[in-house]
Amino acid sequence: MNNSTDIIIIGAGPSGTAAAMILAQAGKRVVLIERGDFSGCKNMFGGAIYTTPTKEIYPEFWNTAPVERGIIRHSYALLGELDGTTISYDKQSSGETYEAYSVTRAKWDRWCAQQAEEAGAVLVKETLVKEILKDGNRIIGVKTDTGEEFFSKIVIIADGVNSILAKQLGFRKDIKPEHVALSIKEVLSIQKEAIEERFNLSDKTGCTYTIIGGPMSGITGMGFLYTGTNTVSIGVGVSLDDLQKNFLKPYDILNELKKHPILSPLLKGATLKEYSAHLIPEGGFKTIPKLYGNGVMITGDAAMLVNNVHWEGTNLAMFSGKYAAETAIEALEKNDFSENTLALYEKKLKNSFILKDMKTYEDVVPTIEKNAEAFLGYYPQKVNEFMDMFTTVDGIEKKTKYTGFISSVFKEKTLPSLIKDGIKLVKLAAGVFVK
């Protein structure tokens, strides 16, 4: 690679690859730097990519991209110690495509990087950016692990949740343990036919689970499950703060979850194909760093752009990459790379679903985290107790049972604390639905 170019992008995840492709398509000279052997080999997620946002960047991607199953069902499992209540929403596809697709990052990110390369971007792999180069208060390039220096008019930082580089620039403070969840997952091999039978799926369809309670009862943690073609991914994400304070090992929690009677039959006979770990930004709106400066923009997880209530991240990453690319194109046309011009990037984010959603959800995680004992422990347990009582046939008059259940709640919780929790929930719901 020549030592100077129009745009350098650091990190070939969903954000960096989308930005690179869009810039290359506009005829700009762009270099995309990735530390891994190939794009995706350092990354893991749940996970599924969402069709509506993804197709705006990669039209008809489902025809050529390495997608596995089309998601037709979202289940929410509230687990007790041995019991559980599962709510499922099914929606079969009405057309050619599905609302979301399960993918693995090793294949998906690699495919995205290929699209960028085909558009004309230069992908430099196995190269770690160690330092952002400055001239006064202007960003002018990067320095890599081999000591080489590369220069560009704009640098886009898309290096993911840890974003050592955004921190280096002083654009963001160090992340606090309560602002990230540590996630681990296991990809389990299960025969294709067995997956379809156990999860009630067809040849091409898939499902996901969001899991609350069980071994995560009372701590800020959620489990997830996604079906692949002949694999099932199951994992947990737990607030690092909770792991740290309670001396918990994440894999103990996952082992326990896999043994839960609601889930274990689904995983019968599975063999472990791969274990992995990754952080998820959890700080939300309040932890979004400074997003741009002279000659620089920060996108995706590096900018903490994740809506973790919905396991959404790739869409925010791709779209912030797209907005940064569009802003860079304008800047190149004006030949002005100052903070003033790049402010357009933040404007675009503000006018889009990205910052609007981040704002809508800003209180959800902090409220849940502060009240994990109640919202992720006590109430889910009560749901299961209610279902147990509701479904058991035992010769006790129903009315006596209901009164017994209600008085148990009042025995365990004082009226003021119930009202307080209720208000918190209403506030949260109002914040999300009415804002």
């Binding site: 891994g36 110690e81 190269t127 050592i164 009372g218 792991l243 894999y251 929690i253």
Partner: protein, 99 residues
């Protein structure tokens, strides 16, 4: 919360499914070993790859950097900010193929 404690073997089995290309030099180091002595050793619990182990007889923290999954949890979660944390150089470290 009822979480059964694993035997160390269990995590080794999980790690054995992962491909690594370890560098000769560690990308992780402790800044001040004395600080670890008085610490609750949280890193030996939350690290998903059990990279950190407290050696009682030597009173030092052992770092099996070859097993690191590069998640960054210890960088943020070390109570004393006592870990010098870097990514491995380009091309080295963990290679996820199926996640």
């Amino acid at each position: 919360m009822s979480v059964e404690k694993t035997t160390p073997g269990n995590i080794d089995e999980k790690l054995s499914t992962i491909k690594y290309k370890p560098d000769e030099k560690s990308h992780l180091s402790v800044i001040n070993q004395d600080k670890c002595k008085d610490c609750n050793k949280a890193c030996t619990f939350f690290c998903p790859a059990r990279v950190y182990e407290w050696d009682e007889s030597q009173q030092t923290l052992i770092i099996k950097y070859e097993n690191c999954l590069e998640c960054g949890a210890c960088r943020i979660g070390c109570i004393n900010q006592n870990i010098n944390w870097e990514y491995p150089n380009g091309g080295f470290g963990v290679i996820f193929k199926n996640s």
